[in-house]
Assembly symmetry: C2
Amino acid sequence: MEGQNGKQNKKFSLLKIVLLLPLIRFGSVVVAKPRTAKNLQVQKGLPFKIALFADLHFGEDAWTKWGPLQDVHSTKVMSSILDQDKPDFVIYLGDVITANNIPIANASLYWDQALSSAKNRCIPWAIVFGNHDDAQFTWPLEWFSDSGIPPLKCSSDISLSSGEDNCGFMGTTRLQLINHDIGSKTLSFSQKGPKNLWPSVSNYVLKISSSDDSESPVAYLYFLDSGGGSYPEVISSAQAKWFNSTSMEINPDSRVPEIIFWHIPSRAYKTVAPSGEIDKPCVGSINKETVAPQEAEYGIMNALEARSSVQAVFVGHNHGLDWCCPCKKFWLCFARHTGYGGYGNWARGARILEITEQPFSLKSWITMEDGSVHSHVSLKS
Amino acid sequence: MEGQNGKQNKKFSLLKIVLLLPLIRFGSVVVAKPRTAKNLQVQKGLPFKIALFADLHFGEDAWTKWGPLQDVHSTKVMSSILDQDKPDFVIYLGDVITANNIPIANASLYWDQALSSAKNRCIPWAIVFGNHDDAQFTWPLEWFSDSGIPPLKCSSDISLSSGEDNCGFMGTTRLQLINHDIGSKTLSFSQKGPKNLWPSVSNYVLKISSSDDSESPVAYLYFLDSGGGSYPEVISSAQAKWFNSTSMEINPDSRVPEIIFWHIPSRAYKTVAPSGEIDKPCVGSINKETVAPQEAEYGIMNALEARSSVQAVFVGHNHGLDWCCPCKKFWLCFARHTGYGGYGNWARGARILEITEQPFSLKSWITMEDGSVHSHVSLKS
């Protein structure tokens, strides 16, 4: 554990960003086609800071007083942290919305609300999906009793030739959400991954480049879709192969550090979880529940372990956990429950990552809604 | 229990049918607007026969050899029974398809296959939905392992402006299915009920009219949507009120017998279920599992009990039950598992209803795939 002051007064600046996607697959060979339209670049002499917003769960119980109010609270949490930490980049670590609570045909309204704090500050972002983002609407049983169904906002379903109202609420798909995220905002770095990985959509890699040379990578950020919602909670064998081939293609000698983001902890998290107090080598402040891992392990952990360049994995999903623990060659970390949506009343906050380029270092801490900071940890120094 | 020969050589004839829907609700008053385009009418001197096809579960495991083969078997069951009993009308009693097994964007392909036996014989039909008909596709976990996802038939999703393939399989909604059922076939008597009952869609009433007078009702057939799939397994308070107001409107003095159809047994079925052998007053041949009832009771049973005209309720859902038992003033009956799809290996068959007009009588038996008949019961004589 290493002390680190999260309250830096670094001026926010414009970013130059290089995207490595789209990755086009020819047979089993993945060819990275670099695009230079956007550039994610370290500023000379400054660390590169990332805020992880996990489990915002916007759109819960929109038909009650409690629901919309908690989204207001969540926006305050994010605004406070963004104004304090002034990150260069935000990663929305899944469960941005609680789609299974959203009784409208298009959930992108709530998606926009959840992302407005970063957008309003011109801070770029990327997303990975959680298990609630494209979940089908769950009708409350009590709506069928005498108290009845509250007034609903049903929209015309263009797939019905008659144009009649559709209150089916079958959900907004991952593709619809990510197209919405990418389409309308130049600040979004989200990508939809190769089609052969679908229904798993949020699989892509971003490069942070050196302050001296926008072509020279400081780190690769890998986003993997850990499923849930419309399909099982799992990282597929195909995704593991995609990670393998992509990383071998763009970072063959493992010289460039790699940092990994997805939503649902892999089963390996269970093996390193503290049993009670969070003691060294683990670092964190809450260990209030058992790890709720993915349904199966189909090779991603072996793929990560095979690369000396992998530094850490960051996940959300468990609102009552915020620890980092080492696991063999790299760290397994939880973010911190950021939203007032979702279960649990533990105080809200966000995990912050800080990357330096020469020498490369990766440090992290948690900034709370009230401005306090804790759980500083050096993940690579 | 009363003997009844199910093998009648009655010639199939054209039907005249009167539809009572659409029912238009003005405030709390339901006004029935009779339509005369179709007429469901008893033939002079002949009983009116209805075949109940329950739990066909078309479209299961379409990616295996076993899946399509069982749909062929189900079609044989229906064809055999239709050729033997020569019913005037077919009622598809829910779980026509297993939508949660159908990895294509539009499940109506399987819907058409399931209904082809009646359609090919020019026998009219009506449907109620079961809990599998609009269920969301459930991705098998093993598809994400090394064995991978089998080739899928993804269709263009018109709601995505980019027109890219969509393998989201969020399901085909009840509205889409019933529009398909009604739209393309003059033989379909299915109706979508009042919008204020949605997401519950298959709520409507059909009249069987007298051989002497097409305006004079012999019986009313009520179809109620017992939910499941995209929303809870329940008949709502609003549906119970709709039944109340509709039946009071069109049959105020309870003079005309009423017969009720839905998919999932109400909780009252549990109270009359035989504990082991099926002894009198119950009649049936299999009692192999416990009743799997709706999630709640919101008034439909009280509404039925309040009317002396209600004769019987017919449900599917439990594949291992085929009994009828009296419950207070009327009968609660299971149909018989007709499809090779769905759980259970009990021999397949169909419950047949036989209605006479003067005097009114309602008899029933079960015809099996092999032509044998059993479980004759007089439900009203």
